[in-house]
């Protein structure tokens, strides 16, 4: 960060001929270009600073039990954020992620407990529910060219109503479920830390999605569609097929999220997770993914989810009221979006 103002190759980085095309007038615009290139960089810095500050404020914060607790608290929102990132990358937004997850979790729990279905089969049907919900959203977005915001606002309400109708409003407790359903809540020791299966599952999903987004043609097409739909179409990308597959993939991720949620809360409740929608969007936005589509990284969303978790945990350890946590998250969102706007100015 202590770069000289004189022109010259970057201190540690490889000599980059690309720089000749970049605006390198001021140190500020240089920072902007770097952030532009590595969208996960700013959330990484924020997370680092937050961890250090909260660690100084309260020595309990950095204890391994607390850190492991934060990861568990983050596992559900972190998983929803994967689905949300995929959709936001295509310049969409999904208000129904939380509702889909709760619906899937209720279906899985009711089938396994109420109908006595074998647990693996119940989980599989939960996956079908997630895919069906994604298919409905994708169908409405691609076929009728409705804005994703409106579509998912509608399906959000539909899914909530269906969940309550289906479950009769009652919660299924984890103690009555087969072990496989609550497995995501179990923890195992790694050295001094206790890690939950749900956290591992979330991380596996991140690795898989990061791989697909970064290394396959499909991933590149997701970015291209979010970047400029018409350009993608003219370049020969089947835009609607890509969009549909994104909503389906999101649905599948949400079904896994349902499994993690059951384990994490040790229950399946139709009333859980009302604020999960917004938390997932928050994580993605703080993670540096542009709401305008086409730019961002999946790892940024994990960092974003962690930042929210760290802020909530750290502020409460510092003895501050819950209201201040909410306030802090609000400030973070606006900050993140402002940074995104500023970075996007590189274009012009």
């Amino acid at each position: 960060m202590t770069q000289q103002q004189t022109a010259g190759p970057p201190a540690a980085g490889h000599a980059d001929p690309a720089e000749e095309f970049l605006d390198r007038q001021t140190p500020l615009s240089r920072i902007r270009n770097i952030l532009h290139r590595y969208p996960a960089l700013s959330p990484a810095i924020v997370l680092l600073v937050a961890v250090v500050v909260f660690g100084l404020l309260n020595e309990r914060f950095l204890r391994v039990e607390n850190l492991s607790l934060i990861t568990q608290q983050v596992s559900v929102v972190g998983t929803l954020a994967i689905a949300q990132t995929l959709i936001i990358l295509t310049a969409g937004i999904d208000l129904s992620v939380g509702a889909v997850m709760i619906l899937a979790s209720m279906v899985v729990a009711q089938l396994a407990v109420g109908s006595g279905m074998p647990a693996p089969l119940a989980l599989l049907l939960g996956l079908v529910v997630g895919l069906a919900a994604g298919a409905l959203n994708g169908f409405l977005v691609t076929r009728f060219r409705l804005p994703p915001f409106i579509v998912t606002l509608g399906t959000l309400n539909i899914f909530i109503a269906v969940t309550l109708l289906y479950s009769g409003g009652s919660t299924v407790r984890g103690s009555s479920m087969p072990g496989l359903l609550t497995w995501m809540g179990s923890t195992f020791p790694v050295g001094p830390v206790r890690i939950s299966t749900g956290v591992v599952m979330m991380l596996l999903l991140y690795i898989a999605v990061a791989f697909i987004l970064g290394k396959t043609a499909w991933g590149r097409h997701v970015y291209a569609v979010g970047d400029d739909k018409e350009a993608a179409r003219l370049a020969g990308i089947p835009v609607n097929r890509v969009l549909m597959s994104v909503y389906l993939a999101a649905g599948a991720v949400l079904a896994v999220g349902a499994w993690i949620q059951i384990g994490r809360t040790n229950a399946a409740s139709p009333n859980a997770g009302v604020d999960l929608n917004l938390d997932s969007i928050t994580a993605v936005v703080i993670g540096g993914t542009s709401l305008f589509g086409g730019r961002g990284s999946i790892w940024g969303s994990l960092l974003g989810a962690l930042i929210v978790g760290v802020f909530r945990n750290g502020l409460s350890l510092a003895g501050l009221d819950v209201l201040y946590q909410t306030l802090a998250v609000g400030v973070l969102i606006i900050l993140a979006v402002s940074i995104d706007q500023w970075i996007r100015k590189v274009k012009s």
């Binding site: 690309a18 532009h36 791989f211 290394k215 970047d227 018409e230 003219l234």
Partner: protein, 264 residues
């Protein structure tokens, strides 16, 4: 139907590579194309000129699958085709640079060159896991740019949005030139370019022709058109007003036909 002096393909000695008959395209009340026919022969540069809104872009969009004409027929090497989307035309070896520059700003140069036809790694990584051959594509992109003489683009890993307008255009042109196996269509490729870059693109057009690839070139720049074109298709008010050659008519004649002050 004033401009249907065109002859059926049979009577021609050469078969057109690309042939359009009586294309009609309307946008609500607006008539974009009003019965336009066009022949493109092997190894020629066919320029399309005309005033703003004359239907040039609409014409080439209908030729390349970006728009589906309301009526009319399309033939590639004598075979009737029905293009529903741009990739249908690409499958037939027709590559296009659209006027609005169909590049993805946030993707890098190499990704843009290979957008929609990415190459995978050989072996199980590519076959099973569909892993892209990013390095290979970057190398090929660099080779292709060098081969096409587009020297201002050294680094193919720069996002296209960081390039100048001319460099962006070069990426789009390079993509068409690199992958066009039958026809290359360029809609105002020199519009944003400086003198040197314009000449580079014109040289590229000549090179493509010398390689046997026919080129359709839309331009408002008369000197450019008269410099490289073998034949000139003049669009006026959604119709083909005339098809001339640089030998048969002067620039002044062409402009007169274009504006309706004269007929061919």
């Amino acid at each position: 139907m004033t401009a249907t002096e065109f002859q059926p393909a049979k009577t021609e000695v050469r078969q057109p590579i690309l042939q359009a008959r009586n294309l009609v395209k309307t946008f609500g009340r607006v008539v974009g194309l009003d019965g336009v026919s066009l022949n493109l022969y092997p190894g020629e540069v066919l320029a399309i000129i005309g005033d703003n809104g004359a239907g040039k872009s609409t014409l080439i969009k209908c030729l390349t699958g970006a728009e589906v004409p309301d009526s009319g027929e399309l033939f590639v090497s004598g075979q009737q085709v029905h293009f529903k989307r741009p990739q249908d035309a690409r499958v037939h070896g027709i590559e296009t640079v659209y006027q609005n520059l169909a590049v993805s700003p946030a993707l890098d140069v190499a990704s843009n060159l290979f957008l929609g036809r990415e190459e995978r790694l050989p072996g199980p990584l590519g076959k099973l896991f569909r892993v892209l051959d990013t390095k290979g594509m970057r190398r090929k992109a660099k080779e292709e740019l060098t081969r096409l003489g587009i020297s201002t683009l050294q680094d193919v890993t720069v996002p296209v949005e960081n390039l100048s307008g001319g460099q962006r255009q070069a990426v789009a042109v390079a993509r068409a030139a690199a992958f066009g196996s039958k026809v290359v269509v360029l809609d105002e490729p020199t519009a944003a370019l400086g003198v040197r870059e314009s000449n580079q693109v014109l040289q590229l057009v000549r090179d493509l022709r010398d390689r046997g690839l026919p080129v359709i070139l839309i331009s408002h720049n008369m000197p450019h058109v008269f410099d490289v074109a073998d034949r000139i298709h003049i669009q006026r008010l959604g119709k083909c007003a005339a098809t001339i050659t640089p030998q048969s008519h002067s620039m002044t004649d062409a402009v007169a036909i274009m504006t309706g002050a004269a007929t061919a």
